[in-house]
């Protein structure tokens, strides 16, 4: 199936796709950020933002827009001993990989920018580049806390990249394809015991759990926020950043939540299908229903991440590493072996 953003003129097609992706990137980050403020507020028995509104709608819906305007007005400070070029470029390097992953994520039948043959591989390769931006930021700040945060972050990302990739590999193994669109379609055809339609999240529940935990760790979300722990290394690599550049880091965290939730949705939760084995009508109606279903699943997953943030205390650095290397990675490897055997034994 062709992408719905395809037109006769190549240049126009590219322009439309880039605009749609960038617009989605910013809107999704704002929506998820607002939801987190509100939901975490209520979980902690307070109201969260109430005043800032967009027009007649109050309840703080305009809070993050106002925050963005505030960040724009702030002075852009580069410390005197910092390395100016690397310092200035780092937030962009951290942000771009998240943006590029959006290119391959399918939101509904036909609602994707590119259906790459290697979509999953591309997404995982791009997500590994973010850490270079973090390392650049931590080093160029010329600040011991920043450097420490960057080193912690790099160690954490290397450790949790493996379970993430391995959980994705198990899905590719079962689906027999690396294309994210292909994975969604194959997933909807899966019948457990030849009769019960299920998504990959059921037979691969271990993989789903691994992917979700590793995704939270990749994003430095609490309880895995050791690299940006505010109470001990004052926000790690972000310590010296102000204004728009700081906002970029926040933006890439929220957009990263959306992107990794979208990947989890596509890999384990049936993508755009509302229930296992469902059929969507052809044409625009199917595309709209599919997109709404995918977005609902993404929001549920991001709310789970917020719930985890409001519930669990921060892990210690050595606990983080021990958990990745002695629990998550062996589990992921064992899961791949089991899936491979099942696929070979069962036709």
């Amino acid at each position: 199936m062709e992408s719905i953003f395809t037109f006769d003129s190549l240049l126009f097609t590219v322009l439309v796709k880039v605009l749609v992706i960038v617009a989605f990137f910013f809107v999704a980050a704002l929506v998820v950020g607002y939801l987190e403020h509100k939901v975490m507020g209520h979980m902690q028995d307070r109201t969260g933002p109430m005043e800032a509104g967009l027009g007649p709608v109050k309840h703080g819906v305009g809070q993050l827009v106002a925050d963005g305007a505030k960040f724009l007005q702030k002075e852009d400070i580069i410390p005197r001993s910092a390395d100016p070029w690397v310092f200035a470029l780092a937030p962009g390097v951290a942000l771009v990989p998240t943006l590029t992953i959006l290119v391959v994520i399918p939101f509904g039948p036909g609602v994707w920018a590119e259906n790459l043959d290697l979509g999953l591989f591309f997404a995982l390769a791009a997500s590994g580049v973010t850490v270079i931006g973090v390392l650049m930021a931590g080093w160029a700040s010329a600040n011991k806390f920043s450097l420490m945060g960057a080193i912690r972050d790099a160690a954490q990302l290397i450790a949790y990249e493996l379970p993430l990739v391995l959980a994705g590999a198990a899905v590719a193994l079962q689906a027999g394809t690396l294309s994210l669109v292909g994975i969604v379609e194959r997933q909807n055809e899966l019948l457990l015991f030849g009769a019960v339609p299920v998504w990959y999240g059921i037979p691969q529940f271990v993989g789903l759990g691994l992917f979700f935990v590793a995704a939270m760790a990749e994003l430095n979300r609490p309880p895995f926020d050791m690299p940006i722990a505010d109470s001990e290394i004052i926000a790690g690599h972000m310590t010296e950043y102000t204004g728009l550049r700081f906002a970029f880091f926040l933006l890439s965290e929220y957009a990263g939540m959306v992107v990794l939730s979208a990947l989890a949705t596509v890999l384990f939760l049936g993508g755009w299908y509302p229930w296992p084995g469902a059929e969507l009508p052809d044409g625009p109606l199917g595309a709209v229903i599919g997109t709404v279903v995918t977005l609902a699943k993404i929001i549920i997953l991001t709310l789970l991440m917020t719930w985890a943030r409001a519930t669990f205390p921060r892990l210690r650095e050595d606990q983080l590493q021990t958990m990745a290397w002695t629990i998550l990675i062996p589990l992921a490897l064992a899961q791949i072996v089991v899936i491979a055997i099942v696929i070979v034994v069962l036709p």
């Binding site: 390395d83 790459l116 591989f121 580049v129 270079i132 080093w139 080193i151 160690a155 290397i158």
Partner: protein
Amino acid sequence: MSIPDLFMLGAFVLGGAAALLVVTARNVVHAALYLVIALVAVAASFLWMGAEFLAWAQVLVYVGAVVVLILFGLMLTRAPIGPMAQHNENRKFAVAVSGGLFVLLVTVIVATFGDATVDVTPVRVADLGEVLYVQWAFPFMVLGFLLTVSLIGALVLARREEGEGPLPDDTDEGSDQGLEDAAQEPGPSDVTSAPGAGDAGQQIGAP
């Protein structure tokens, strides 16, 4: 010139310039960052030649892992900001060797291919898997085994047995010193990464 040709040319120029900056940069962290650009340019060339899998593998392995290990190692051992003297006495020798190698490679490639045109046919990843895991399965497994053995060997070398060497508490300073010395001696950044990478492995492997 068509648009793909222009992109290829851009990747070549950018990658070449970045590669030159890797060896001439006055700051070792800058050199590692230029290496990122050079490696991405190589990935872009792969992409334009139809080797999609190779291009993303290049990004995943080299940019996402190797350069991160280099940077991680540098920052764990020493992370100087600002230019510093690269006391490398073999610079002239290195220029001669790399220049000679460059001329040799260009001559060989031009002599072999000349102005032959090669059709760019994108490789499907399923075909690639067929070749790699069916046709060449044995060499592939031997390679994997070799890498596993070297990984275990590195762990054994890095790990301190109980009762061997000084106590961990007083070795912290000593081993850092050793790493710094080791990091200062070799010139190219890929060699510099070795102590850092080993250290990361040690930290992770022996908690």
